[in-house]
Symmetry: C2
Subunit: 150 residues, 2 copies
DNA sequence: TGCTATGTAGGAATCATTCCTGTCTAGTGA
DNA sequence: TCACTAGACAGGAATGATTCCTACATAGCA
């Protein structure tokens, strides 16, 4: 979803995040895509508009935005960290072939609970569901026939 | 659960994994704990019995065992990879304070589905649920009062 | 018992991420 | 409008988990 700079500024203010050109560009890049980019992806995207941008700043900014709750980190296996500008409660569908991550919004999945006898004194704050499978393209490419990867 | 070497040998044979001293030791260490150790943890544990053991062998062996389906990899955030000797379908409860991972076995959680309109041609093979919260110890230490960490 | 494919040890290489340091700037108060 | 200061930025170095490379060792079969 395309965001204008005023909307970005408003969100930053609401979350008490100091506004800079770099941060706005990084956040905009993330909010405009549903593709869960990596820090490196964002760095390359933003560097086109701001050639002085440092990789370091991308990592630092993602850390700040994450702590402020403007951004969410998504992880699959121990692969490179991916980021998500969608911070509403949702879940993910991950292709074992090409690695793409698709958002799943479903109210039913938002209300799972652990049998209290298993919770063992834990105070549960939230949960996340990850579905694994093969996307249509990977099935066509014959990957879907493979056994499930570790 | 303590395993004797015959049981280990049987499992290896069943999964067509070549048996070596190193592999047996690594698998035994993993099967005997419920603590989801890292590769480094396993390396240190096994090195006590086999001082020549190489870190490399631990990684390689974990890869082999994982591909054979004798071992499962568990990941939390983009932290170090953790391993699980329990390969039955189950889910995890993760403490945001100390990072401990507790197994959750619950049949209800094993039968989740995505609304088909959201599956978008995906062929779903499985899913995993991760609960986040604070364990009893971390709550006592006051960590539970903290806002949820990114 | 010997052969061969495969596993192992150890060191070097990789690469995402973090740390360090000097410079710059957003936001505030005068 | 200006100066100040905490916090942000850039760039390079460091870190550390994991993988790659290679020579040697060994499991499993004939």
């Amino acid at each position: 979803m395309k965001l204008d700079s005023q909307e970005i500024e408003a969100r930053f203010r609401r979350h008490a995040v100091r506004m800079t050109r770099q941060r706005a560009a990084i956040y905009a890049a993330l909010a405009e895509t549903t593709s869960h980019p990596t820090a490196e992806d964002l760095y390359r995207t933003v560097k086109r508009q701001q050639p002085m941008m440092s990789r370091n700043t991308v990592y630092y900014t993602l850390g700040v935005l994450r702590q402020a709750g403007l951004v969410q980190e998504v992880n699959v296996g121990h692969e490179v960290a991916r980021f998500d500008g969608n911070v509403t409660v949702h879940h993910h569908l991950i292709c074992l072939g090409c690695g793409q991550i698709v958002d799943v919004m479903d109210d039913g999945l938002n209300h799972l609970a652990i049998p209290s006898r298993q919770a063992g004194g834990f105070h549960v704050l939230g949960h996340r569901v990850e579905f694994h499978g093969y996307c249509a393209d990977c099935q066509q490419a014959g990957l879907g026939a493979m056994e499930r990867r570790g």
